[in-house]
Chain length 108, copies 2
């Protein structure tokens, strides 16, 4: 529960979602993560701390290099939570479809 | 994109997720929503405003009564976003499974 809050909070910021997208394609150094964004290293570090708190990244120290790795598992909590609600938009689409089927039938 | 931020921010609070859960079982008056929670009407109203901003609820005025209705569609954005990341935990599980399969094979 607490972790779901942390994960949702972490992914609610577009920069943090962009960072996750980058890291999902492979580990990277902090400077490499900052590069494509118009962000200071300090701002990136803050975002990485939030992601780390939610368990979405892991720091791997190799000698003098720090690599940031993506961890996808915490996102399962989001997937499970949203799964229950899928019935509502599919119900909605079903009703929408029924409406058009009924309309089509009414035509000669 | 802006809406995904608003939706994720709205669902990141446990009280707002609890309110959505209640409303997913049918429309309710503000007082009815507040009842099971240890929250003031004022606090509930604030949460409802955040949910409304994200398009997750709709206010239906019937005479002097205000009913709050759940709207599931914005959660599709969350579902679509998280869908891409599902490959990461299933990959992880696959590796986990391979590990045990290999271990079993090694036994006589």
């Amino acid at each position: 529960m607490d972790n779901l809050n942390a994960v949702l909070d972490a992914i609610s910021h577009p920069s943090r979602r962009a960072i996750l997208d980058r890291l999902s394609r492979g580990p990277a150094r902090v400077t490499e993560i900052a590069e494509p964004f118009d962000m200071s290293l300090n701002a990136v570090s803050k975002h990485l701390k939030v992601l780390e708190g939610a368990g979405l990244i892991h720091r791997e120290v190799q000698g003098r290099e720090h690599f940031i790795e993506f961890r996808g598992e915490p996102l399962r909590l989001v997937s499970s939570w949203v799964h229950y609600y899928e019935q509502f938009w599919s119900q909605h689409l079903d009703r929408f479809e029924d409406h058009f089927k009924a309309k089509r039938k009414r035509k000669p």
